[in-house]
């Protein structure tokens, strides 16, 4: 939704849905994958040739999480010479994330523009996975098994019915089921389930395997991986010129992409007015194992709002069952707390009582990169040569395919595709300090106060 558009029509329920759920302009896959012959020479040779001095790389990506890696991979496929700096490429929030590709069940009021981007990315997923698995030689655990969102009491049921009405208004495909129908689909659900929404289009992927595949694909595409911390951004003559590492090495680049997840907001050397307003939002996640004798236990993602709190269970084909997630504003703290584990298990147990028999194999906390409007910041900044690919919050895994394509476009042509334009960083001009700019230009939640009021 562009700010200049007329406000969407309002109906009696109070909120219109303006998301473009059909074909998105410019959404046709623009990957234009380079053939193997275009791929630059071996990483080792390139590293020695370009490791220091000016103009070393075409693109330097600071941050090797899934967003940084997909940006690097897609840019390398366009024939650009690309490097990634990260002490542990493939790490970051993807190591904790559950990997729900839930554009439909994650729908929120006021985030219709973000919905458009989420849906566009979800549509690209099957092809993206096929291409990535081919390029990397690795499996990603992509599973088109669908999602069932259920309600356990009449309050939560009313909440879910409202979501269903909103989904339908947005043209999304979801089916309302009674409690017994939900349990016929998933017999392990608690008998108290009052009803649910079946969304076959909300799929899942294993973010750890996705990250590993992206590392391999980057290496095979000739992306140089520098396993080090970036000390600061290098700015010369009013242009971003690369990054300095902790050991003093300077990696020069024509264009630099800041893709450091929740750390993006405190990157040294970035001028204050282009520093992204991104903060860490902690999420605790549990991993259980489903023994072979219990399989499949659950056959699709189960989620619910239990007394107002969100909980989900994501079953993988390999027997892993992921339960998440808390949402806490505690800075860069990644402590797993008794209360966090308790709340997740309590709510999950209410939903699927049988989980008490499963081995609890891992408890971990990660940091979502949250932006003021919950949507990512993509593309060029006011500082020439500096791009952002950060602030993906809850949707980093879902938005990986479209982020790679959009960033490769921006890096190769200087222009973001239309589908990504509402997410330009300049909507927060003044680094989030100005609400006025966010209100005028931000996607999704940031809408003029009076927009949508009945005439």
């Amino acid at each position: 939704m562009q700010p200049s558009e007329t406000p969407p029509a309002q109906d009696a329920r109070g909120t219109a849905c303006a998301a473009d759920t059909g074909a998105v302009p410019g959404a046709a896959d623009s990957g234009a994958a380079a053939s193997a012959a275009d791929v630059p020479a071996s990483p080792a040779r390139q590293a020695s040739a370009f490791a220091s001095g000016d103009g070393g790389y075409d693109v330097l990506v600071a941050g090797g999480g899934i967003i940084g890696l997909v940006t690097a991979w897609r840019a390398a496929q366009r024939g650009l010479r690309v490097a990634v700096v990260d002490p542990e490429p493939g790490g970051g929030a993807a190591q904790v994330a559950a990997g729900m590709l839930a554009a439909v069940t994650e729908l929120h009021y006021g985030e219709e523009t973000l919905l458009g981007l989420n849906l566009a990315s979800a549509r690209r997923y099957p092809e993206f996975v096929a291409e990535l698995e081919e390029a990397s030689g690795r499996d990603t655990g992509y599973r088109a098994s669908g999602t069932l969102a259920v309600a356990l009491d009449s309050d939560d049921r009313a909440h879910l019915r409202e979501l269903h009405a909103f989904q339908q208004k947005c043209g999304l495909s979801s089916e309302w089921l009674g409690g017994r129908d939900c349990r016929r689909l998933e017999p392990m659900l608690a008998p108290g389930v009052r009803g649910g929404l079946r969304v076959d289009g909300d799929h899942q992927i294993d973010p750890r395997r996705l990250a590993a595949a992206l590392v391999s694909a980057c290496e095979r595409a000739g992306v140089v991986l520098h396993r080090a911390w970036v000390e600061r951004l290098v700015v010369r003559g009013g242009r971003a010129a690369g990054a300095a590492l902790a050991d003093g090495t300077v990696l020069g680049a024509e264009q630099t992409v800041l893709a450091a997840g929740s750390l993006s907001g405190r990157f040294a050397g970035v001028p204050q007015d282009v520093l992204p307003p991104v903060r860490p939002v902690k999420g605790q996640v549990l991993r259980l194992a489903v023994p072979r004798a219990y399989a499949p236990f659950l056959s699709r993602t189960i989620r619910a709002v239990v007394r107002g709190g969100d909980v989900y269970l994501v079953p993988r084909e390999n027997g892993e069952l992921v339960i998440g997630a808390t949402s806490e504003e505690l800075g860069w703290d990644t402590t797993v707390t008794a209360g966090g584990v308790y709340e997740l298990l309590r709510d999950a147990h209410e939903l699927v009582p049988g989980i008490t028999e499963l081995p609890l194999t891992e408890t971990r906390a990660g940091l979502r990169p949250g932006s003021p409007d919950n949507a990512p910041l993509l593309g060029p900044t006011a500082l020439p040569g500096l791009h952002l690919a950060t602030g993906h919050f809850r949707n980093g895994v879902l938005l990986t395919p479209i982020t790679g394509d959009a960033m490769a476009d921006a890096l190769a042509t200087g222009e973001l595709p239309d589908v990504a334009k509402p997410f330009r960083p300049d909507r927060f001009t003044g680094a989030g300090a100005s609400t006025a700019s966010a209100r005028d230009a931000a996607p999704g939640s940031a809408r003029p106060l009076r927009e949508g009021l009945p005439a």
Partner: protein, 264 residues
Amino acid sequence: MADDVFTLAGTPFTSRLIMGTGGAPSLDVLERSLVASGTQLTTVAMRRLDPGVQGSVLSVLSRLGIRVLPNTAGCFTAGEAVLTARLAREALGTDWVKLEVVADERTLLPDPVELLDAAETLVDDGFTVLPYTNDDPVLARKLEDAGCAAVMPLGSPIGSGLGIRNPHNFSLIVERANVPVVLDAGAGTASDAALAMELGCDAVMLASAVTRAQSPVLMAEAMRHGVEAGRLARLAGRIPPRHHAQASSPGSGRAVLDPERPAF
């Protein structure tokens, strides 16, 4: 309305709407909702927040010049609440605390015994205590006697949006209180806020009604007007309810219309 000042523990406020931040869909929406509400005092849950972190809820409040009121949400015992209040005082440098001690997760109703116990401890410790309490006139009086700076009865359970279920109790609390009475919890829409003010409350506190509305910014503006309308109505003095009609236009003194010049 500018001279109608709401004084809480010696501090004047021109807004009588106290906001909470829980449930906001995004920081951006929260910020614009707070602006639209006109609030000057906003409560934050200390257990879900690190005061040292930039770019979080506290940064938004500081940017907007809104006073922060730490609360003890999530505490089930007086001991936890006292500890949380002390940590908040240390972290934020304020001795104001919105005291919440709830009895169970299902209802989130205050535990009256633990609440009074915690209130007494915190008052003795120099805190300005603003207790979230049941709509019980007796407990409200005991909290006031314990030295609380206000009493904040619930209209209905937290997040329920069921409005003020026992308006008569609110009248009883308001009649007896010598400290401000603030509706805390239960408001679902603007008329609930207006009713609280008409019943004589000094202010209204709410969060979910705004943060979980389909358009939080619009609802925040509605709440501001609801509070102002209810306050004006209280000051104006409503007419006594009557069983039968009473014509608003009196029978005498009607205009004499010129028969030569019809009105239309």
